[in-house]
Amino acid sequence: MKNGRADLSIVLSGEAGQGIQTLERLLMKMFKLSGRYVFSFSEFMSRIRGGNNSTEIRVSSERVGSFIERIDVFIPFGPGALARFHDRITGETVILGDPAFIEDRYRRGGYTVVEVPLSDIAKEIGGKTFLNLVVMGLFAGICGINGESARSQVRSYFSRAAAEVIEKNVGALAKGIEAGRSIARSWNIEIPPATSPDASMELLFNGAEIIALGGIAGGCNFVSSYPMSPSTDVLVNFAKYSEEFGIVVEQAEDEICAVNMAVASWYSGGRAMVTTSGGGFALMTEGLSLAGATESPLVIHVGQRPGPATGMPTRTEQGDLLFALFAGHGEFPRIVYAPGNYVQGFNLTRKAFYMADTYQVPVIILTDQYFLDSNCTVPGLAIDSPMSASSIVATDEGYRRFRVTESGISPRGIPGYGTGIVCLDSDEHDEAGYITEDFSVRVEQMNKRMRKLQSMGPDSIPPDLYGPVDYRCLVVSWGSTLSCILEAIKASGRSDTALLHFSQVHPLHEDTKKYLERARYTAIVENNYGSQFGTLIRMHAGREFNRKILKYNGMPFSVEELAAEFKKFT
């Protein structure tokens, strides 16, 4: 079956607990090492076992980084796995798998079905746990991937297992390769060619890892958090590196504890971060305000999921932008970042520590389930040492933590370093940190805190313009929709359309208005109901959009649906 495309979209679908994630990791690595670009997105139901989970893996000769509707190969891992995807299965989709998992209706009516007795093959090896390796082999066979390199990948992946188990896995892989080669001979599944060594040399990451590694690159050495989907894996990754990089990682009893610990850690010389989702962040808002009052640096990662309340715990949304912006009582400066891809995710988390430390303000990083539960490759990541350098000063006898300065930034001392004392109070305070109800001191401290907004101007990140500079139509977006919009503009065939993407959503860059004024037609793309970023732009730039493309069903945008929308631009 020829689709004439340079990329292949594979969907693995089964119950929770079947090990689809393991298979995803193995396949992603295998395809990458074979010289192809890869991207994957996992979606799951909020349960530990059963239900239906799926992973979409895209394999391409060109860089890919977004979710698409199209499915080229579908592998069901159980009865009923196909049903949930019925709308996305076409005659072009190769349904490949165990006969027992393919309903009869797909054997009629122009569907493409390739039946392979996967379960029987796995059973022969030693049980259904080997099913994943058979499927990995299947793809190695279909794509003509070097068997030895696949074998060594499996050996290294299972290196901690008993020798017998490793060999059984390798055996399952071999059986799969055999079946795959035979499929390749009889079915013409178009495989994206391995382009160059470039793809094989890329770095492969998951979204949660990128945030954690970006934090470490920013010098993060204290993480206190309460588990909450979809942000938990960020905490897990910090725990994994805690000994190697000397990071205090603590599972707090609640998010209130988490944020108070983080503020207090900065006070005594740590570089602290919390990771949470909307509901947890809601509990942290008093602590956020504490950081504002005490001019404490603080880094908060919010992995968004649909609300209100518990909402859809394992799904995606960009519904917490205005909440992040307005959370916390009282007025104080803050910064909000929203990375569009993994390089930005790493760089912005790293920069969040620098900005928090330099300007003594809370920095919020907004990602979402789509960003965090995806896997993608990047060409490289760099460590920028000033980002992890500390601004702490040694105190002397007359040290005053909140000394009024022109920039609004007071040199930050910590207790135990120097001969002075460091006094910090959530009440309004004087320069030395003592409680005051003096109205003029209040105004002086308030003005000092707010002056930092101006001081941080030069470090502000402008929006990125992608596409023709002389655009007629301008798409505006923020956060995780970046790659999908770029691919959709390309797919729509529009050469008059550019994307203006914001990775710093607050404070809004002064160039925003200028970009919007140059467009004849403007559209905003957001994974939420109310066009929250559109509201923000209206507030700051006084501009309305011609079109709002919004999605809030819990799934990310697909390339196809955005391309269809872009084609409608007038």
Partner: protein, 287 residues
């Protein structure tokens, strides 16, 4: 008596005349003076309330954060720099009410901090409502028919949770309270001192003489390492025992358990990112 923790200009204290907090601050300053801990190594931590203002009146570093959140803050300060001596001062409402979950977590974590709870069985700063330790029948403008909730027994909870150090003191005995506080600070691990004290403005029931008549000091026959005996004493509520009730030195501290201190004991602020090591971790992802 002068203290190294006095200010050149005495601060304007926000406590009512006759408040038990005046005695407590005397005990705290005297304990710190006698222990001779370098002033710049001490961090006083508090939440919100009248007791929580105490750090403002001691000439040392302090973190006066949010209501109920003194224990997470203190735990993090100690975990970030284990060389600091961290003392938490807050009231019964702040510690056992608003911060109840953190109190339970502190007992389980066992950070090497000292928790001095000013327990006057009433909310003072909000002008006289029941606190978690208010006795049954205590009438307030909110608890108009009298408190009918079971009073919280922090000492018994701490003992049953194998807390590292559990004591009860009475503010009126400055000298004895000072000794208990010294012992608590010197003890390695989480040390709870529930300090009973009168609120002259809003608790007329549990006044100075009530405490005198309803407390007694444990004598030398009490063995604080005997958990059964400690638990038995801690459950006494008719006449409240004072002194060191329980000591459990068997558990490692929170800081000692942290992976971050496995390879190095130096405070976090002294450490630098090992950029080469991070680059190796990143580059390994090329596979």
């Amino acid at each position: 008596m002068s203290s190294v923790f006095d200010f050149e200009q005495p601060p304007d204290l926000a406590w009512c005349p006759g408040c038990g907090n005046y005695d407590i601050i005397k005990s705290v300053k005297a304990a710190l003076d006698e222990l001779d801990i370098p002033r710049e190594r001490i961090v006083m931590v508090s939440g919100i309330g009248q007791a929580a203002k105490l750090p403002q009146y001691i000439n040392a570093s302090f973190f006066n954060g949010l209501h109920g959140r003194s224990l997470p803050a203190a735990t993090a300060i100690k975990a970030t720099n284990p060389e600091l001596t961290v003392i938490v001062e807050s009231g019964d409402g702040c510690t056992y009410g608003e911060g109840g979950n953190h109190f339970l977590a502190a007992l389980r974590r066992n950070p090497d901090i000292t928790n001095l709870v000013h327990d006057n069985m009433v909310y003072g700063l909000t002008k006289g409502q029941a606190s978690p330790t208010s006795r049954r029948g205590f009438r307030t403008p909110v608890q108009i028919t009298g408190v009918f909730l079971e009073p919280f027994n922090p000492v018994a909870v701490a003992v049953s949770m194998n807390a590292s150090f559990v004591a009860r003191a009475f503010s009126g005995d400055v000298e004895k309270t000072k000794e208990i506080i010294k012992h608590a600070i010197m003890h390695k691990g989480y040390s709870l001192v529930d300090i009973l004290h009168p609120c002259v403005s809003f608790n007329k029931a549990n006044n100075f003489s009530w405490y005198r008549n309803n407390t007694y000091y444990l004598d030398d026959n009490h063995d604080p390492s005997d958990k059964g005996a400690a638990l038995e004493r801690s459950l006494e509520t008719d006449k409240l025992p004072l002194g060191v009730i329980y000591i459990n030195s068997g558990n490692k501290t929170f800081e000692e358990n942290l992976s971050a201190y496995k390879n190095s004991v130096i405070p976090l602020y002294v450490r630098k990112l090992d950029a080469e090591k991070l680059m190796r971790v990143i580059e390994a992802r090329r596979y």
